[in-house]
Point group: C4
Chain length 286, copies 4
């Protein structure tokens, strides 16, 4: 055991730097990573602006490759330093990390795949880890708990809304007809969704008096309907907050750190934890 | 009694297949039915797209008739296998089933009635029965209870909104006039509803400074007013959930099945029920 | 006293018919009145449609005068039969009744004043009296209590929103300039209100990248801000409902009738009341 | 001490007039100040309207200078009469007061800076002080407490929304392309924000069927998502109100006055306070 520990020492050090944000070097790595991600997203955005692309095409192209190589190195290191690589590869962040890395390689084979780089935006979610804000984590836990509890109810609701949109869409297609922009039923259903959600682009708008009357009915319906998901989420969120209040007196007071177990990748250990609360792995090596 | 039971045995079997989703054959029937409904809705949508209709007109026409015949058979079987046919025919699903079946027959007499097929979308509501999700049924029960309790209040509210729309619509007609798109009062009222519900198509928009000022007042009003139905539904939904919590400890735990009584069509029997809780009819035959 | 009663008997009878909806004749009067109001509003709407006005101008003109004369008679009778005419004349309904009657007379002097007829819509609020729906009255009482309690908070909120609109409007005027539709600051502020309330007509829309960025900030602000009035109304409405629940066990059970006291016009007497709860006047004459 | 008091007597008097709204002269000063601010904002608005500026350019120019000089005198007096000038200068109102004063001076050096005058709108927030409405102050305290408590949660939420907008924006850019108005990714992201917040200008709208399908998904998402901040604010506001209710029985009953301590600028003293509750400075001089 002692021997194995010294042997894997560099892997342990790297794991600490890459996966955690508690040590100075770990924090430094994460900040650099986030800046690189942000820079790469800005690059893709600028590349899509023609006037900018014409001027700085070479600079963008080279930067893109530098970032891709950096991400490749990072991805491989992540696999090496973790004890159960497959678990990481199949995890949410594992898939995102892979998809953020491969676009430039794929661009040799398929054109346009470098747009996948936009998925790098999802990597920015790591920012919450760096900020070491248990407060933010707690906040999002309440949110996700409320959203999870609302899921079934909101599904029922959205299903009913979809059926209403199909029926009203077909109705509007019959009333307004192709000459007023309602060229076919799918487009009519699209218009109905645009109206019911109170977005109202105005690219298609009813012209006939009857069509405008039906539109008014749909809008007032949408006005009343918008209250339903809000009501559900509010009620669930209130109850999620209350349950939390009654269980733990001061949930924010518990200091969680950003370490992840090298064995099972479990996160949200208490700050003074010595062993992983999921697999019992020792969290400290030195 | 024994004799009558054997005589109606095939009706009982058919009833179980058509009206219930607990047996393998019943579930299979319902899944096939839903796929047919979905397919028929997609057909109507595609038919409305000119380029698609030109190419595949014959295919769509034949499929439409096949589906219509299948629905006709299903509708007749439903009437035969139920003990009180009139109760089914006059029920919500009975009317929808009829309206979903007749459009193609009516198209011999009237043009354009095959658009009624869109009403088939309502048949999709049966999906909740198949999924056997007591959880979803419970969810929609909370919802409908909250909406029922809010009905009177929201009616008062919508009535007041309608009156405001008539008054502001007339005002805008006088201020903006016909040259700015407010061609008559009904159109002006339509614009007012579009604005108050925050849809805002932009097909009609105020041009004069005074008109824009009144529009701003309407919008800020609408902004405040949207809070009212949301507040009502939220309050009712919260209290509906609370009352339910205090009555039954774990409402989801009660296993309801999807059987409907052959005698009175009552649904939501407990999974281990032997007799209908409404008419006392024996639910099991074999 | 006995003598005076017989003398004013016809006034008492008329008061009962006009102001109350409990007796058959009173209910009949109110229903006829509401139908007349509705008919007169529809008339004004149709008059504004050119093609309709050309055909039926004479019919509309005569109907308008018939209705005006009927309303004049009703207004005078209301004044005669009430004990304190000035109280009625200065009341909300008194003013509305007058304004609904005079437009045709004023049209001799000023052109276009017959548009005031739209104010007749406000008379429709009497519908709640006829329907004798204590339930609806209770509902609107909860609503108005919640809205009254929210008034101060929503004023503070709207005041802050207005200041934000002035600042952002000026900013957009400077960024976008006159060539992109932001021709002056008031128009810019109007656009800002359109955007913040999520109406979004699209008659004016930012074109420059910087303008679009500021617009995005305003929209996300508006998205968060819309939560505030909703939150306030919901919280107040919930507490208004709760207080009511704890005071009266079944507030709907109390039967209020639609009588109004002949002496002081007070409404909402209990169904078995003999004397006015405000001035002690005897409510029954026969 | 006695000597110093008489020496600074005029400063004390001025401080009372400028910083407080309890004495008649103090109230008069504040009302005049607010009217001047309002007048100056209206002036800038009118100046931006070309037809108006051509006619009254001279009048506007002179008025602008008169107001600027008045504000300069006021600003200097504020600095002189306060005991700790730097604390005022660096405070929120101090910065706003400076920025409201300098634009005309800056216009000698830079063109267009007189637009900064719009910032004067922020000075209008002082209106709450004049109205001496402890009720309003209490209302905004509840609001700001609820908003402060929601901050962390709404940040998490907005961060997730931003990431979704970047990903969906890039997707729409790829699907719709430059020929349909989605000329580059930043513009696409802007469109996505416009759609998700249900503003829906319609200056850019999807044309291809696939683009309209994705737009429908974004809209329904936005419809569900709008429930989240509303739910959070409502829950926090309800709990903020409840906590307040349990602590103080009648929070509105406490009379706060509008005095600010001459020493430390602390506000919201109780009406009968003799010494500043923050620095112990004597609040009364005479």
């Amino acid at each position: 055991m002692q021997q194995q520990k010294t042997k894997t020492h560099w892997r342990v050090r790297l794991h600490e730097i890459i996966y955690e944000a508690d040590t100075p070097s770990g924090k430094f790595f994460d900040v650099v990573l986030l800046i690189t991600i942000l820079f790469s997203i800005v690059l893709v955005m600028l590349e899509s602006i023609n006037s900018f692309d014409l001027k700085y095409h070479k600079f963008i192209y080279i930067s893109e490759w530098v970032i891709t190589i950096l991400f490749t190195i990072e991805y491989i290191t992540r696999i090496i330093t973790v004890k159960k690589p497959w678990k990481y590869i199949k995890s949410f962040y594992g898939v995102i990390d892979l998809l953020s890395t491969i676009p430039m390689y794929l661009s040799f084979i398929f054109a346009g795949t470098n747009m996948l780089i936009a998925l790098r935006a999802l990597r920015l979610l790591r920012v919450f880890r760096i900020l070491k804000l248990a407060r933010y984590l707690g906040a999002s836990q309440h949110l996700s708990k409320a959203l999870k509890a609302s899921k079934a109810k909101i599904s029922v609701f959205l299903f009913a809304v979809m059926i209403a949109c199909i029926i009203f869409g077909t109705l509007m297609y019959m009333v307004e007809g192709e000459e007023n922009g309602f060229t076919n039923i799918p487009k009519s259903v699209y218009w109905c969704i645009v109206t019911l959600t109170t977005v109202g682009f105005g690219d298609i708008a009813p012209v006939t008096p009857l069509g405008q009357f039906i539109a008014a009915v749909i809008m007032i319906m949408g006005y009343g309907i918008i209250a339903v998901p809000t009501g559900i989420v509010t009620a669930e969120y209130t109850s999620a907050t209350k349950k939390d209040d009654s269980k733990v007196l001061e949930p924010v007071e518990i200091d969680m750190n950003t370490q992840s177990c090298q064995n099972c990748n479990a996160e949200k250990h208490k700050d003074d934890a010595n062993y992983c609360y999921q697999c019992g792995n020792n969290l400290h090596y030195d």
